[in-house]
């Protein structure tokens, strides 16, 4: 009924072939995360066809990594994902350590785990903030950005850099914890736990958020596995799979990770999934800090700039806040990698689910749909 003037006009325009128009939900758009675009063909406010407009963030990582030494690539690898850079470093180093057939010291494993979980916290804050901003709740986005700053300050103290840490190296980690770091980390964790109550009242129990996100982008239990979704998207559709439990790496064999699963499969379930995993991550960091042993922080592999990795190949995967990050490394026995191939977690959702969900959706929901599936364009383009 609301649409009846436009319905009449569209019937008139159909005769002249003027109904379908093209809209760039494009690289330059306030609702898009990163430089990525969808070229949408629309009738009225409803989408009819989708074509991805990818490649604006293509930086040629895979070719570049073949021309640098093994340890020089540590500076390149975190820049593949902006929100959650640590899983990249850990996956790359784990693949090299698999080919070298070495096992790193226990303290190094725990330090890697702690930085991975801290990075997961900051990525969840950014992801929840992006979801809130896509539906207009800028208050939540700004408060979460302020809280994310506390974690980035801790990272700067530990590694020297706020966003791209370059902390893991083949054989272990670069630095040990300074005096007073653990106390400050506990204070930040307590502060974040108190903040969760405020986030609940502001964001997760907001009736308008429920109205906007309910039923959006439904993915069934079998489809999630069939389309290759991983991470919180998979678990919010009812599949209890987590790389930290299925194929453990770093210190996860010593820690008890609780796999959180929900039925539901729509955007609201995914938002609540992130909130539940946020709480679980805080507890995981506390457990890791309590059981961390003393010891060495890296193996002695000689001069890392002259590291030679024997011939072989390995695939290492890591659970990031968006899903499974995988690195396939091929070595021919030299000082530079022969091939490094990167598997990003956003490709099945960003490219395949867009063909399945976006037609028949209205333009109002595209930004919220993207934010709920945690589609982050840098790891599609590499």
């Amino acid at each position: 009924m609301m649409d009846s003037p436009s319905y009449m006009l569209s019937k008139i325009a159909e005769k002249d072939n003027l109904t379908v128009y093209e809209l760039f939900f494009g690289p330059n758009h306030p609702g898009m995360h990163g430089n990525f675009g969808y070229v949408l063909e629309m009738i009225g406010t409803e989408i009819v066809k989708v074509r991805p407009n990818a490649g604006h963030l293509h930086r040629g990582f895979e070719k570049l990594m073949e021309q640098k030494l093994w340890v020089q690539n540590i500076a390149l690898v975190p820049r593949i994902c902006v929100a959650d850079p640590d899983p990249n470093e850990v996956a790359y180093c784990t693949a090299i350590e698999k080919i070298l057939r070495v096992d790193i010291p226990d303290r190094a494993k725990f330090l890697r785990t702690i930085t991975l979980e801290m990075s997961r916290l900051s990525s969840f804050l950014m992801g929840m903030g992006a979801l809130a901003a896509a539906v207009g709740l800028y208050t939540a986005m700004n408060i979460m950005t302020a809280d994310r700053d506390l974690i980035l300050d801790l990272f700067e103290w530990l590694t020297g850099a706020r966003v791209y840490h370059m902390f893991s190296i083949p054989g272990g980690v670069r630095n040990d914890l300074a005096d007073g770091f653990v106390e400050r980390l506990y204070k930040v964790l307590d502060h974040l736990e108190k903040r969760l109550i405020e986030y609940d009242k502001l964001l997760f129990e907001n009736p308008i958020i429920h109205k906007r996100l309910k039923g959006l982008g439904y993915v069934s239990k079998e489809d999630a596995v069939k389309y290759g979704l991983t991470g919180p998207n998979l678990r919010a559709s009812g599949n209890p799979y987590d790389v930290r439990v299925d194929d453990p790496y770093a210190a996860y064999p010593y820690l008890d990770v609780r796999v959180i699963t929900q039925e539901g499969g729509d955007a609201l379930t995914r938002a609540i999934q992130i909130r539940l995993e946020f709480e679980e991550t805080i507890n995981l960091i506390r457990r890791a800090l309590k059981t961390m042993p003393e010891g060495e922080i890296r193996l002695n592999l000689g001069n890392l700039s002259a590291l030679k990795v024997p011939k072989g190949e390995a695939y290492a995967k890591v659970e990031s806040s968006k899903g499974e990050f995988g690195y396939y490394v091929v070595s021919d026995g030299g000082m530079k990698p022969y091939r490094v191939a990167v598997r990003g977690p956003s490709l099945p959702a960003g490219l395949l689910l867009a063909q399945k969900h976006l037609p028949k959706m209205k333009i109002d929901d595209v930004a919220a749909w993207m934010a709920s599936l945690a589609i982050c364009p840098p790891d599609i383009d590499k």
Binding site: M2, S6, Y21, E22, L23, H29, P30, G31, M42, T45, A132, A133, A134, V135, G136, L137, Y138, T139, N142, I143, A146, L202, N206, I208, I209, K211, R212, K362, I363, D364, D365, V366, A367, A368
Partner: protein, 294 residues
């Protein structure tokens, strides 16, 4: 000659107060969001910077549309009594005011349609649909007040509330005030009813193709609309005022309520917004109307 100076003076005053409110509003929202925020005079600096730039335009219709919307709102302002004074000595008929306010939206619709960007067209259709949504409950409340006072002159309605705070329409008809407040969120284009400007969905709607001087004109239009709408609410429900200073203070109270609600709500989809406006404030307004008639 004197009339021209009065009109010019009132217009400058309306623009000044509107921009001041916008700046203070941004500061308050920033403090709610745990930020420092821009200084309270930021809106003046924004308008000054925008008018100093070159701008591109598509055709003559876009120029005309922007000027028409600003002129429409300024002419509406001339009929709203400010503490009993008015720019032109004429009646301040409520129905005339609401009728003239639509010219602002129509002018912006003309400018947006001439720009040729589909985002702007979607934004304009949402704005006009939202107008359909908020007019109905607002008119019902106004109908109740007109029947009660027996006149549709804004000045007389304001004067009938003289004699202390207990005489205000806000206290005599609280349900009507509640329904009008909810509709006011939509009239001012603030969340949860700001589907017209939805940056994340349609790239700022009608303002997507405006730049430079045109965006400056859009800012000024928004500032005058704040002045006009809060002015109408003060005259209807808070008893006008005896001097200009008290009037501006009461306007600021209404604007503060709007800002505080805006900071904590996301936005409705357009069909959800219209459905909400036609059920919740409408039923409250109908109850108020029934109480007045009986």
């Amino acid at each position: 000659m004197i009339a021209a100076i009065r009109v010019f003076g009132y217009s400058l005053f309306a623009i000044f107060i509107g921009l001041l409110f916008m700046g203070i509003g941004r500061k308050i929202i920033a403090r709610i969001q745990l930020r420092l925020g821009p200084p309270f005079y930021q809106a003046f600096l924004d308008v000054g910077k925008l008018f100093a730039r070159k701008s591109i335009t598509h055709n003559f219709v876009m120029d005309l549309g922007m000027i028409m919307s600003l002129a429409g709102l300024l002419s509406t302002m001339l009929f709203v009594p400010v503490a009993g004074h008015m720019a032109i000595k004429t009646s301040s008929n409520l129905i005339l005011i609401i009728y003239l306010m639509a010219i602002g939206h129509l002018g912006m619709a003309m400018a947006a349609a001439a720009s040729g960007n589909p985002n702007a067209t979607i934004g304009v259709s949402r704005a006009l649909t939202m107008m359909l949504g908020y007019e109905i409950p607002f008119f019902t409340v106004m109908l109740g007040l007109i029947i009660f006072n027996g006149t549709s002159s804004l000045e007389l309605i304001a004067q009938s509330q003289a004699g202390g705070i207990l005489n205000w329409n806000m206290v005599k008809f609280p349900l009507g005030f509640l329904a009008a407040e909810i509709a006011l969120q939509a009239i001012m284009g603030e969340k949860p009813f700001d589907a017209m400007v939805a940056p994340a969905e349609i790239a700022s709607g009608p303002m997507v193709e405006l730049g430079g001087k045109y965006l400056g004109l859009a800012f000024l239009t928004h500032a005058v609309s704040i002045f006009v709408e809060t002015g109408i609410m003060v005259n209807l429900f808070m008893g006008g005022a005896s001097n200009v200073f008290t009037f501006v203070l009461k306007q600021f109270e209404i604007y503060l309520i709007t800002i505080l609600i805006e900071a904590v709500f996301p936005r409705f989809r357009i069909e959800q917004a219209v459905k909400f406006l036609w059920t919740v404030p409408m039923s409250i307004a109908v109850v108020q109307l029934a109480i007045i008639l009986l």
